[in-house]
């Protein structure tokens, strides 16, 4: 009996026992779609973080206060006395001391309340220099960024994030208008283009960017300390060199040994790594849940295949009496189990992928479908179906025809 013939007979048998086939497939469908969705959730969270980090700019070094053993590079030092100063930033910008740093943007961070007419809005304040726009790879949707002169004079000018601008000015262009910050009127000279980060409510689009001196007056920062210094290396190749140069410079300036460093330098890669390490726990947890649901699906498949084979021992006996060899019988059940497993797998993948499209807006979490996890889930379901379907069938195939025929 040829494979084609066996395959045809397998599909026929699946169709002949519709309800049983559906029940068998149900376990596989649930298992596979939940694997796709749970792994997709973990993957989606990782991708989102990666997106956010790459949205910071390119070839970026992020210098933060505090030793490298304290994690969370971006926000390190927030609220605590900073060990990084404006002088550090100025030294880094020196072409001769740090030749591989293309641009340096020191930033302070804080938060304050802005008032435009009747409207109040609390947002984060970023104090920085002219280089910020390039280093952070941002663009303006209208107006202009502040000039070096305005930075020097700590002029009362502000550039608003796109969300901030629309919160404060529902009508007309914000550029040229005035916002009051802590009683000081400031003129809005520009609005940032949206960062394009997919996540909603990203703080990247809700902030007020001002000259660093101005921000210090507003948020009351101490002396010349800064919270983060962003450095853009000239290219990906010079990133490592820039890292070494800045490390050496700061150790020298602060007069500390490498072991006692009071600052840390992260690259985007290292940030991604740190974030992934955190996400790993989530992914493992979700993967565990998915594996359990796949296992439960597999047990369902096993159960129904066992019942189905037991039910059909008489059929096996008859087929043997009419000339089927044990090999042909085993093949028949192999094909049936594979057809069921594959069909269930395909439906499961369909439901999983549709779910991955439908779910994110509902739960406000991105879901990205992982091809590897999908293939592994199908493989597992197939293996379970085949294993548990073929084992009892090959046992039945070894019975003498008469024992099989007599069984009830």
């Amino acid at each position: 009996m040829s494979w084609l013939e066996t395959f045809r007979a397998g599909i026929e048998a699946v169709r002949a026992h519709r309800l049983r086939s559906l029940l068998t497939m149900l376990g596989i469908v649930i298992g596979i779609s939940s694997v796709i969705l749970t792994v997709g959730l973990g993957q989606g969270a990782q991708d989102e973080v990666k997106d956010q980090i790459s949205a910071l700019g390119s070839n970026l070094l992020i210098v933060s206060p505090g030793s490298s053993t304290s994690s969370s590079g971006v926000r390190g030092g927030f609220g605590s006395a900073s060990t990084l100063t404006l002088q550090d930033a100025t030294a880094m910008a020196d072409r001769y001391v740090v030749p591989d740093a293309a641009k340096v943007a020191p930033t302070t961070s804080g938060s304050t309340s802005l008032t435009a007419g009747e409207t109040n809005w609390t947002t984060s304040v970023v104090g920085t220099t002219t280089a910020w726009l390039d280093v952070r790879a941002r663009a303006l949707s209208s107006g202009r960024f502040f000039t070096a002169q305005e930075v020097e004079q700590a002029a009362d000018v502000v550039v608003l994030g796109s969300d901030t601008a629309s919160e404060l000015f529902s009508f007309g262009s914000p550029v040229g208008q005035t916002v009051t910050v802590d009683g000081t009127p400031m003129s809005v000279i520009g609005v940032l283009a949206s960062s394009g980060s997919s996540s909603t409510g990203s703080s990247e689009d809700d902030q007020a960017v001002m000259p660093i001196g101005t921000a210090k007056q507003v948020t009351g920062g101490s002396g010349s300390s800064v919270s983060t210094i962003y450095v853009e290396a000239g290219s990906a190749e010079t990133l490592a060199a820039a890292y070494q140069e800045i490390d050496a410079l700061l150790l020298n300036l602060h007069g500390v040994s490498a072991a006692a460093a009071d600052f840390s330098i992260s690259t985007q890669d290292s940030l991604v790594e740190t974030a992934n390490a955190t996400n790993q726990t989530l992914t493992v947890l979700l993967g565990g849940i998915a594996a359990i649901s796949l296992l439960v699906g597999g047990i369902g498949v096993m159960n129904i295949m066992l019942v189905s084979v037991t039910e059909r021992v008489r059929e096996i006996g008859l087929r043997k009496a009419l000339g089927a060899t044990p090999k042909v019988i085993r093949r028949q059940f192999l094909v049936e189990a594979s057809v069921l497993g594959l069909a269930g797998g395909v439906v499961g993948v369909l439901i999983g992928t549709v779910g991955a499209q439908v779910l994110p807006p509902l739960i406000d979490q991105p879901v990205s479908v992982s091809v590897v996890a999908t293939l592994a889930a199908i493989g597992t379901a197939l293996a379970l179906g085949i294993g548990f379907g073929v084992y009892p069938a090959s046992r039945a195939a070894r019975l003498t025809p008469i024992d099989a025929l007599r069984s009830e």
């Binding site: 087929r319 089927a324 060899t325 008469i402």
Partner: protein, 237 residues
């Protein structure tokens, strides 16, 4: 049918015993059977219920193995064959008709009939043609697409007969084929067996009804696992 003693007997049983074991209980269903059946004979095996008739037929059909003794089918010792060889022997040489019909409920009549041809490796188109021809021979040309559930008992048994003759086997084994049928259907099925016999096939018919056995040219009477009488038509009434 002529010169039958010149040909080797198609069936040769020597010292065949069959013991069933269920747990510690043993039951000897066949207690030493020695007989031969020539090609072209029509043999009825008669005996009361539980005498071992079905056990004997299962051995003749290579559906089960004897506990002791030898069975030669067309000169070959069956007990030395592998599973695959036995499957081929059943497929090529033997046609079965069971009391319970043993049709697959999910398949239409012609698909049931073509099953032995599937295992013989015949191409699909030819199988269909021969299955439909076989159904024609049993008078069911208009029922080829019906599933067994849509047929009467007599029609189902005729489908089973069509399945038994579709491979043109030399030997047809029928175990109480009329046991579940009314008298009209019984006559139909027995007429079919007569026809098959007339076309040269060897037939072994198992029954406990003497009027059914009367059609055969030879009667083996079996009781408690032994052959107690072997009568040929015309020799003994």
């Amino acid at each position: 049918m002529t010169a039958s003693h010149l040909d080797p007997p198609i069936i040769e049983l020597t010292g065949v015993r069959k013991t069933y074991r269920s747990g510690s209980i043993e039951f000897e269903a066949l207690r030493g059977i020695d007989t031969g059946i020539d090609a072209g004979e029509y043999v009825a095996v008669i005996g009361p219920s539980g005498s071992g008739k079905s056990t004997l037929m299962n051995l003749l059909g290579c559906l089960d193995n004897p506990t002791e003794g030898h069975y030669r089918l067309a000169g070959e010792d069956v007990s030395e064959m592998s599973e695959a060889q036995l499957a081929e022997v059943r497929n090529r040489r033997i046609g079965f008709v069971f009391q319970q019909f043993n049709l697959l409920a999910s398949l239409p009549a012609w698909r049931n009939v073509e099953l032995p041809l599937v295992y013989a490796g015949m191409p699909r188109a030819e199988r269909r043609e021969r299955a439909i021809a076989a159904l024609g021979r049993v008078g069911l040309s208009d029922r080829t697409e019906n599933r067994p559930g849509e047929l009467s008992g007599g029609q189902q048994q005729r489908v089973a007969v069509a399945r038994a003759l579709v491979t043109e086997p030399a030997l047809i084994l029928a175990d109480e084929p009329t046991g579940n049928l009314d008298s009209g259907s019984t006559a139909d099925v027995l007429d079919l067996l007569d026809e098959l016999h007339a076309s040269g096939r060897t037939i072994v018919l198992i029954t406990h009804e003497h009027d059914v056995a009367a059609r055969a040219s030879r009667r083996l009477i079996i009781s408690d696992g032994r052959i107690t009488s072997d009568e040929r038509a015309g020799v003994t009434p």
